[in-house]
Amino acid sequence: MSRVPYTSTTNACKLCTPLGAALVFKGIEGGVPFLHGSQGCATYMRRYIISHFREPMDIASSALGEKHAVYGGGPNLKKGLLNVMKKYSPALIGVASTCLTETIGDDVQMILHEFRKEFGDLELPEIVHCSTPSYMGTHMEGWHRAVRAIVDQMVTDKAPPAHSVNILPSLVSPADIRHLRELCATFGIAPVILPDISDTLDGTAKEDYEPIPEGGTPLAAIRGMSGARATIQFGRTLADRDSAGESLRRRFGVPCHTVGMPIGIRESDAFFAALEEAAGVPMPREVGLERGRLVDAMVDAHKYVFGKRVVVYGEEDLVVGLTAFLAEIGMKPVLVATGARNMGLEKHIADVCAGVAGELPEIHEGVDFHDIAERSATLAPDLMVGHSKGYRYAREWNVPLIRVGFPIHDRFGGQRMLHIGYRGALALLDHIVNAILEKKQEDSPVGYVYL
């Protein structure tokens, strides 16, 4: 980068760390996310998450006030835990710290230790905690830290071997998770998906308001992860990190496959290869047919999409997956951006583009939308792919925005969008091609009806 980066942030392309952790805890059976901090953070995150999923999202808070900020938040944390136990009877409380409690230096681990001693006579839920100051990282890092915390704090013994596979799917949609479960079933394998927000954040209409919605990864299944045949974790940027999958491998010898987000053909191929290996069976016919249908559709679509210039932005691993797919169908990613830093994006993008993209896109980490816009000014994109926050720029440039990821709060059904596997790629392809056709039709003086 030639230019001196700005000091200020304008329209951030990331969210804060505890939000990711809260989403993870929401994906555990009987789980209640609990933010140790002042009330505002929890309320803001709830509001934000609700606008995407359109589902209840209860996040408790230790609701610290001024005196706690000075004298420490321990007493309120304990009181809050007791109140959550009373009202929610949770199986698990996931405590994530916020900027405030990190800064005043509350030792959450010690407070929880005291809590367990003080209230040892009560039936205590599992309490997992993770440290998530937002001045160190983004919501995705909060997500991974929470997954890691669950695995480290709950998977402590070697479980008997089971015909199961651990899948750490990262932040994908509830529809994606449901698809994953179906896929595993066709391979004859029982997956433990951690976390599993497929029901808890995309529930059915119910008789009652459930304090804790049905669904989520069962605690017993989590404890059994040490006996799984393998772990498959999504996200190329996790490869060099001390991740949850890595922790299971190191401590219990569970083989760990770190694959990219399975978006598009080749990233999905890698995922299915890992699944084949873990399950010990070849790819089932149905899945093969889906691949075939995807390739067939890509052929049908190629002229519409070829050479179209795309700006892609969002979470680090999601943008890698999206770029992989866009390049495979002949589109031209011209800029790939994320708000996260130190993700090695250049290498990952180069890897997934190898063999399908001519020129590599511009790649930027740690950027906000002001940077993205400034960089894109000369790139003349035809299309943007990313979450809702890019809308104002898409509007300004008069290009379609394909909404993918989190948050999607200006469209309907973000939580039901399928992205992963061959079926997900096909859904994405339809979506993109139709957006291009619609734009073409709208801009056309003729108004062709056969396109």
Binding site: S8, G40, S51, S61, L82, T103, Y135, M136, D208
Partner: protein, 484 residues
Amino acid sequence: MPDGDLLDERRSQVHRTGEGPLDMACNRESLAGAVSQRACVFCGSRVVLYPIADALHLVHGPIGCAVYTWDIRGALSSGPELHRLSFSTDLQEKDVIFGGEPKLTAALDELIDRHNPKAAFVYSTCIVGIIGDDLEAVCRKMTATKGIPVIPVMSEGFKGNKREGYVAACKAMFRLVGTASGNEAAPLEKEAVRAAVRPMTLNILGDFNLAGEIWIIREYFERMGLTVIANITGDGRVDDIRRCHTAALNVVQCSGATMDLAKMMKEEYGTPFLRVSYLGIEDMADSLYDVAEFFSKDDPDIMRRTQELVRGELAKLMPELARYRRDLQGKRVAMYVGGSFKAFSLVKAFRHLGMQVVLVGSQTGTKEDYEELAAITDPGTVIVDDSNPLELSKFIKEKDVDLFVGGVKERPIAYKLGVGFCDHNHERKEALEGFVGMLNFAREVHASAMSPVWRFVPRREKRPAHTAQAATAATGQEKKEDAA
């Protein structure tokens, strides 16, 4: 005891109209672990100041606080839209350790140069309060170098609830008031100010121009022969606020948010104020009449014009409302709102629709607010302060509510219980103020309560008592056919 499953510490924040004396504990800190619907001080300041469209709003803190408040309100502007961008210093670990002042200075420097705002507000968040950055000093320096007012907003989240945020916002705005006189740039001596006051002028306080609402209200005042000097803060402009002390009257909506500014102006400049509400028929009309009354000494004809305006608007509105009322008659409503002031107007508005309010709650009501609510609601109505999802869902079921009015966080509670929902919070995109707003409101209430979808939700589906009602709901026409 129907409230037996409340958390003990929450009991003193729930009251039932007609059952014993009201002894509401309010303005308390939220209870730890109770999943309060409340936000923080910062949120209060942000919502009040943010609609000032030609100011720079810089959130000094880690990224989340800024992201979660990025353009969340539909506060429209007729000109600049600087307020719709989200600026943050995005503090990082080293700033937390070594202090964030250098970063703040640099951020202000580049943002002010880039956007040329008329003023800048710098919001302090929790973490800034802890690391002890001297906002005042940084802002003073920037004011001097950049030649625009750079104003700190002391809104550290943990220092209370939204209410304190309102006060912080008012204090920040008050620094602007009186820094320009009439149309000139020179500040006036306080004594000279009253002389400069212009007759037949007013400021609109406490309206945020959601979905263009302030434009509706301005038009009413203009038709009455009045000139609005400053919109505070919907469609707001810095220069207008600087000279707003030259107005003859402040009209203040929503007591919570800008009342403190009105009080400060009264004390400093002697500007009188009136409390108004633009929601619902009576309150809208009463507010216009009160304002007309105030100005009738300057213009004896104003009352007649106002009456004409109200009569004309009502003539258009009433027949339409009657149609909705036919369907909505007897349905039960629950509401949970931010400020309680809005609740008064809503209770009356629902009466116009033939509906009965059975639960009223607010995040930040005062004891007086709740007393007034108890006075205007029917016996048995639940009144609640700083509630949470579990309590709200319990009351909704107990009262067998047909419609719930609240904000985005309340929506899924209603929907999961198979209850219609209207957003009457700051995220609404439909104008609900004024006479035309009442019509929009009725239309939305109707669409929410009468949709056939409720007959398919499990809670309704299984209950025979509701089948008849659901069936009529399914076909609004049925009744009309009967009538024909």
